[in-house]
């Protein structure tokens, strides 16, 4: 069947234009929120299904992201968009793209270490401090944890002891 509908690859490119509402330096694709994009027939009408996995359970940004996906695709002529919220597997910062990590650093946020904390691992009270956190300004790894939470649930507040600047660190999650 010949259809005048945008190719999936093109739609992925469009979705990459949507910034995270809280950290606009990175896109929702960099964050790994969009898991799948596919066309299907819903009650005889073609609909675009976009599977998304929310980051933190209570993060209010997810509503803004959902609205923005529907709005943007609407401007590109896709009228029927079905958002499928996929909880499993749970979102983790392990899904953050390499490019996204670089963009975070350029934006002044230290990216998370490569491997998130295993929620089933024994509880170690010292495992808070991310030994890979480095100052996004001067690059020094002489840093200290100031607060386990920053301006959003996904970030912690650190201070660089070399250049004395405080900075946000994206927590491994």
């Amino acid at each position: 069947m010949v259809r005048d509908e945008p190719a999936i690859a093109e739609i992925w490119t469009w979705l990459g234009e949507i910034p995270d509402p809280e950290i606009p330096a990175i896109s929702i694709l960099d964050l790994g929120i969009v898991r799948d994009v596919s066309w299907s027939d819903d009650e005889g009408e073609r609909a675009l299904h976009v599977a998304i996995t929310p980051t933190y359970s209570g993060c209010p940004a997810i509503r803004a992201i959902e609205r923005e996906i529907v709005r943007l695709l609407g401007t590109r002529g896709i009228a029927r968009v079905a958002l499928d919220v996929r909880l499993a597997p749970a979102w983790t910062t392990d899904w953050l793209s390499i490019a996204g990590r670089e963009k975070l650093r350029d934006y002044g946020i230290s990216p998370p270490r490569a491997r998130a904390i295993d929620p089933n691992a024994p509880i170690d009270l010292t495992s808070f401090v991310d030994e890979r956190a480095a100052c996004p300004r001067c690059g020094s790894s002489a840093v200290e944890l100031v607060s386990r939470f920053g301006s959003t649930p996904c970030k912690a507040l650190y201070r660089c002891t070399a250049c004395r600047e405080p900075f946000d660190h994206f927590k491994a999650h």
């Binding site: 209570g58 979102w91 089933n120 808070f128």
Partner: protein, 258 residues
Amino acid sequence: MSGPLSEARDAALFVFLLRLGDSALVLGQRLAGWTAHGPALEEDLALTNVALDLVGHARMWLDYAGEVEGRGRDADRLAYFRDQSEYRNVLLVERPNGNYADTTARQFLFDTWHLYLLQALGASRDERISAIASKAAREAAYHVRRSGDWVLRLGDGTETSHARIQAAIGDAWPYTGEFFAPDAVDDELLARGVACDLRALYTPWDAHVSRVLQDATLTRPDDGWMHAGGKTGKHTEALGYLLAEMQSVARSVTAARW
């Protein structure tokens, strides 16, 4: 079980989900009470972020509860239009915030149980429960490290902080028995492979709590008489005030949409 509760399509599963959702919601609401009142800006941020996680968990559990019930109620409807006797949270979470040691003790004892509970529910045969629990466990793993660290700081801190956290742990302790006491609902869902064995959570909970208390130079209270009733809707007076505040806007402006 009161009338409206037993009309659900799967009454046991409905109540089980209410218990999970209500415990997260009530504790989230309690912690939100610290907003702009935290002892330091960093703690203010931390408590409100933990509250946000818990309210997020509550939304997922209660939305599912509403679907299981099959009477068209969503998370908001269940949160704002049920009275005290219809709430199924454990009693510990409705205890007032008190001083910072009281809030810390309540959080530490709950977080430790919460993490082990969510880990166990990650293996539920019910895919939705397994997905929600696995997601929530990632956040609970962080909460438990934060609150444990504060028990250490207060216990091994000044004479005053030590005395306050010791008293707070003692006050909260008789509310922890409910964590590990299954009833007919828990037993039915355990047999169906949906729930976990609450009794089995005691050993890891006790090991972690005892170790942190010891490191914090605190004395672990003895397990004596324990309060119970939250899981069946018999609450302390404190919950009524919390719900009155939380539900007032939704009930006075019923046409409002968030």
